[in-house]
Amino acid sequence: MIEKMFFAGSGGQGIILMGQMITYAAMYDNKAVTFLPSYGPEMRGGTANCTVVISDKPVSCPLVYEADVVVAMNLPSLTKFESLVKPGGKLFVNTSLIDQRPTRTDIQVIDVPANDLAAEMGNGRAANMIMLGAVAHSIGIVADAAFDKIMQKTFSGKKAALLDLNRAAFHAVKVN
């Protein structure tokens, strides 16, 4: 089993956090993992993306040229990275912010209105957790308990009040 994932959006959407949380969860679940962020001079407001590889044997290459999963959190990410999905792979589209449709027909497109759902739950900033939950449940290779462990670690201390909300957001969407 090897799952290559690519998360993309804009700075401030919590893209890196999504990638890191699924990486941690997979590690807690005894998988081999790598997490590779894009890095560059634009500190804020630019594009943000990261690559996550989860495998049951050591990861040879942390780079992704054909992704099993691409997550597009905004429109520029969709147009730029739609082509990265390998035939038969999954493309998650944040339809709250993306009003265009993907052009590919050889892939599975999964619509998640992440920002709308988060707003309904009372905190628009939880959109990334809604999307992460959708991705996690769709690929199904990492146990929920491992996610809960990283959820508790991430939302602790000063952020402890956000735990319940984010937990709920993580479980809001279940797709196959």
């Binding site: 890191q20 990486t23 941690y24 081999a32 001079p41 990861v59 040879s60 942390p62 780079l63």
Partner: protein
């Protein structure tokens, strides 16, 4: 084995250096390694160590020289242009036989170049980037655990062989996260212990066993004295080679094509080898872990079926110079490369490898 933790490369490098006994860090911010001075500024003082943000890379390497000459265990880091600026100091460290651990989280050049990973500092690292005749051990790990293990070991190697030791990583390794098992921390050496441990160090001679005055220097005005000194350095290099030469060979016995690659690109090559195997092509890998001394002996393990040796690198053909020496005319040598900044896809490398094999028919 300790429980694995997920760490960003740069932070894991810094942690490994501290655990290996490095008490001093002198740094200057430069992408893609700035997390290292940040991490050190938080962590070292907590553990009784010293962090100084230097005025420049020149300042940093010379602080390293001073602290190392005074017997301290020093770790420093920078990235390609900063490492270039440090070369004057490295030549000094090598000539004056001052130990230190130097990490290059390299990017691509020349000039300011770009901040993406590259391997074009190979000559600078392995040929001695500063003036004069000298070498320093250079290690190029290809994953986080290997990097942590070698950085942890490096201070002891530096002390043993009285030389700076360089770790050549790249921006991708510095920025990515991967689980690592961190080795147990070694205690820091106290200043009072140094005169006995390192009698050559400039600690003041009052408390030194024997009370001999120490001078750390590199100037030798008499050419005969200089020659004797340089020959002594090189005799030590020869003595150190057996311990320092490190490499990994994968699938050489029946490989039609043998890649030679280090660091990030070696990791990618592992995926290429799997891809080629799916297409019925046997490929192998010689992965130098020490770039200096270079593991020329690894090439003796190349089997009878091999038709070509390919240097895969993120530079215009630097590693290939050592591949030629290793192959020594026995087989054709080819180059698969990008300039750095652009990491070739494994698909691209696999296609080029196939084209090379077909070209031989």
């Amino acid at each position: 084995m300790a429980e694995k933790v997920l760490m960003k490369g740069n932070e894991a490098f810094a942690e490994a250096a501290m655990r290996g006994g490095c008490r001093f860090y002198f740094g200057y911010p430069i992408t893609p390694q700035s997390e290292i001075p940040e991490y050190m500024s938080r962590e070292l003082p907590k553990r009784g160590g010293v962090f100084v943000q230097a005025e420049s890379e020149l300042g940093a390497i010379n602080m390293t020289y001073g602290a190392g000459a005074a017997g301290g265990s020093v770790f420093i880091s920078s990235s390609s242009p900063g490492i270039a600026l440090m070369q004057e100091g490295m030549s000094f460290l090598c000539s004056a036989e001052v130990p230190a651990v130097i990490l290059n989280v390299s990017r691509c050049g020349p000039g300011i170049g770009g901040i993406q990973p590259g391997q074009a500092d190979y000559f600078q690292a392995t040929r001695g980037g500063g003036n004069g005749d000298y070498h320093m051990p250079v290690f190029a790990p290809c994953n986080m655990q290997e990097a942590v293990d070698i950085i942890y070991e490096a201070p002891a190697l530096a002390d043993k062989w009285r030389t700076p030791v360089m770790i050549l990583a790249d921006g991708m390794m510095g920025q990515m996260m991967e689980p690592v098992a961190l080795p147990d921390p070694k205690p820091f050496v106290e200043p009072e212990e140094i005169p006995a441990n390192k009698p050559w160090a400039i600690t003041g001679y009052a408390k030194k066993p024997g009370g001999a005055r120490a001078v750390v220097k590199s100037l030798r005005m008499q050419p005969e004295a200089l020659e004797e000194h340089v020959e002594r350095l090189f005799a030590r290099y020869d003595a150190a080679k057996a311990e320092l030469t490190r490499y990994e060979c994968i699938g050489l016995e029946d490989a039609e094509l043998v890649f030679v690659a280090y660091g990030t690109i070696a990791r990618l090559t592992l995926e290429v080898i799997e891809m080629l195997a799916e297409q019925g092509i046997k490929a192998g890998l010689i992965r130098p872990i020490s770039l200096w001394p270079f593991p020329y002996e690894a090439f003796d393990q190349i089997g009878k079926r091999t038709k070509v040796v390919v240097s895969a690198e993120l530079s215009m053909g630097q590693l290939i110079e050592d591949v030629y020496r290793g192959v020594n005319g026995r087989l054709p040598v080819e180059l698969i490369h990008r300039t750095g900044g652009i990491i070739p896809t494994s698909i691209e490398v696999a296609q080029k490898a196939k084209a090379i094999l077909e070209g031989l028919k």
